[in-house]
Symmetry: C2
Subunit: 482 residues, 2 copies
């Protein structure tokens, strides 16, 4: 059946109406939710020591309309772009600074078990729809749009990204503040699994472990399906089953011996499910977005995998509810996209993926104009920063801006050049700059403080451009504010 997206389907109008109705119901449900009713967003905006000084907040607020508007961006084949970022993309929604937008993000691993994560869900069905006759989202990756060898886009990038969001007034040189006000698991639409959401961890060929496996066969890739309480009733995820990846023939006849193209529907008659796994093991949930990206300016089509100076696939599990991100704006409107939702992840994302699980997020976006930044903590910020209620974090990569640093073949070359050492080097330099500029420390003060008061961790070693982060507690500076 067409999901309301195939104009050649004889029942297109009926199907389309059904899909729009289903989406409308989701939107209405959100607007009726306790979050909006209680003015949750406004409440969250206050409190804590923010990188935004009172003066900057005032300057930015003076530019806002009186009342923030709410927007809802569902994930459909029409609102997503798959596996790449691009400044050429038509915005899916245009908002004012200060507005709140709820965005549905779908995991690109949903087709690893379509029964659990796609079936019956109109948005997911429209995105993942792929038959011999029709593949709704043809381009998957930054590669050749008409690649027939492996598939359109070449799989050079994998994340289903919803957006972009155009923020009026955002221009290169400005900073976009992104407050994550809420996250909510996307429930399985399968009536047999009411109240549950599902996610996938792929132990894949790009994982840190892959060439270092001890059990046979050593070149295996494993899909582990996890289950979470969609209503947030449990702080833990648990494993449902796993299976070994088998060669999958996609609807266009291409055989995928390994996980080399996103969204390939896995034929469950070809796999063997092991349900007796991770018995009694419960994984603490940490709902977050692996990808929040502003479009970069360096190239027209950019692979969604390596994290960039404008954000993207940072894969830090702390980028969840209550956190605020700051990104440098590189193109007009910022063009923010959301993707790669995760139910949980550990620092390093060792096997290649997190618990990849569809999540709907609510965000407030605030533009800080370049003209207002002078002398503030955000002046000259040329990389994404994370602020939680208690900490500030810098994100170091093997290459701070790989698109500019590695030349015309950057998008290929980055996959062979990364190391944790380089990522730590970049995190060190960014933290030093942060301490010297925002706290006005000398280099000597900054370096001593980093050694005794900053924790450096491994963000991920699987995204081409590997990452380390540096964490500093805000209360270290509480005495300076008084």
């Amino acid at each position: 059946m067409c999901a309301g997206d195939d104009k050649n389907c004889p029942e297109f109008e009926t199907h389309r109406a059904k899909m729009m109705d289903a989406l409308g119901a989701e939107r209405r449900s959100f607007l009726k939710s306790a979050f909006v009713a209680t003015g949750g967003a406004a409440a969250l905006a206050g409190g804590g020591i923010s990188l935004v000084s009172p003066a900057l907040a005032q300057a930015s607020a003076a530019r806002l309309p009186n009342q923030p508007a709410f927007h809802y961006l569902p994930a459909t084949d029409q609102t997503v772009h798959w596996g790449y970022f691009s400044k050429k993309l038509k915005p899916q929604v245009e908002i004012d600074s200060g507005d709140i937008v709820t965005i549905e993000a779908l995991t690109h691993h949903a087709n690893d078990d379509a029964e659990l994560m796609v079936k019956g869900d109109p948005g997911a069905e429209s995105v993942f729809h792929w038959t011999k006759e029709k593949k709704n989202v043809k381009r998957r990756g930054a590669g050749d749009e008409n690649d027939t060898k492996i598939g359109g886009g070449g799989g050079l990038g994998v994340h289903v990204c919803t957006g972009p969001v155009f923020v009026r007034g955002a221009e290169p040189g400005d900073i976009l503040e992104v407050r994550i006000l809420d996250t909510r698991f996307r429930p399985s639409a399968n009536p047999e699994h009411k109240g549950k959401s599902f996610g996938v961890t792929a132990s894949a060929w790009w994982g840190f472990h892959y060439k270092d496996q001890i059990e046979e066969p050593k070149d295996r890739e494993i899909i582990t399906v996890f289950e979470v309480d969609a209503n947030g009733g449990s702080p833990f995820a648990k494993a449902a089953y796993n299976y070994r990846w088998t060669p999958q023939t996609d609807p266009d006849g291409v055989v995928h011996k390994i996980i080399d193209y996103p969204g390939v529907p896995v034929d469950h008659s070809t796999i063997k499910k092991n349900t007796d796994i991770l018995r009694g093991v419960r994984v603490p949930i940490r709902p977050h977005f692996g990808v929040i990206a502003l479009a970069p300016n360096e190239a027209d089509y950019v692979n969604s995998i390596p994290p960039m100076h404008t954000g993207g696939n940072i894969d830090n599990w702390r980028i969840g509810k209550g956190a605020t991100m700051y990104y440098p704006v590189a193109v007009e409107g910022g063009l923010m996209s959301i993707g790669d939702p995760h139910a949980s992840q550990g620092d390093s994302e060792l096997c290649g993926t997190a618990i990849e699980c569809s999540i709907t997020g609510t965000f407030q976006l605030i533009v800080h104009k370049k003209a207002d930044l002078e002398g503030t903590a955000l002046e000259g910020l040329e990389y994404p920063m994370l602020e939680t209620q208690t900490e500030w974090l810098v994100h170091g990569y093997s290459f701070a801006n790989y698109l500019a640093e590695l030349g015309p073949n950057a998008q290929n070359d980055i996959f062979g050049k990364s190391s944790v050492d380089l990522a730590l080097r970049d995190a060190f330099r960014k933290m030093r700059k942060f301490l010297m500029t925002t706290q006005k420390l000398t280099e000597d003060e900054a370096i001593a403080l980093m050694s005794v008061g900053v924790d450096f961790g491994v963000t991920q070693v699987v995204d081409g451009n590997w990452g380390c982060h540096g964490i500093i507690r805000k209360d270290i500076f509480a005495g300076r504010m008084a």
Copy 2:
């Protein structure tokens, strides 16, 4: 004045009596303390999910004397060895398994400001005593004991280590459990600074930042002195002042242009103190021991800097009060030494040091015999593991056992071969082994779980053999225990 340690001093007997009296007072004060009176150690032993199963605890307890004895090991020139570990060392105290021992640990940086950290403190004075006539602790490092070019021991290793402690019944193949029951800052003996303790952060040539400084002169080393409340009245340390290292001529006439030998008395008439530093900045304290080492068997004299399979300079700030370490025993009696006490440190110890600050620790040591280990979580443990109340941690190094892996020149070669990538690789392998052996997971289960439930961080990048750690929460397995 002689500190009661120079038999050629005409007043030796008087001085000696005075020193022993001072040490005795410290010991009596400890025995009267609330900790001992309330049976603190016994209380701490219970609770939590331990790597020691009830059956193993019972087996190990059956080997204990009825009542644990208390021991007190002060730090004096007679009880410390400086900069090296050795299976040849005579034990300073012999204890039974289950006994409790309080051990004074001195920072090797005390002579960076002797007025604050040495003067008036009989133990510290005896260790740091160094005049043209007499250097109480001659050998500092694993190098040539009679090195005259730079100093005895060659500075190949820097930590003042107290011990070793010989644990009766501990033999190669056994596991030594070390419970850190208490830590207490060593107060400054200088009456002007009553109630305070002091520590030093050296931003030194071996730091990760050193060849990457942006301000001039780029080859500078900086000593930052921190102050903490000796009585634990504040959870923060604050900076007192800093100075740039200047060439220091030691009492034997050797000039130290850089920080290349431990315990060189810094002549404060040659340095410029900057007191207006880190104003209002407060560093969360994390009292812990950088070094807890069992003597390795691979060589007679081993540099104290690179962490080893038998522990040593792990430099993880989580090895503090309430934590338990498990070490493989490599030589008879275990021969445990304590050193490198830290008031605080961040993950990575970026500039080369933590807040190096003298601390007295109280430890309970329990031998788990090889014969009792079969089928337990400690079976086959060949590296040091950390257990906190809520987490288990593995420590990866660039080289898991560099002494065995790098051959006869290991102690030199290790300083040029480390990387964070290698350390993460080792931490990954150790965590996989831990999950597969102690939790009986398959490799596929272990790898998926590591990606979504284990956090990998950078322990240190300044100790020759660089370190990464992996942290897993115990409650992940709570459902399996029920």
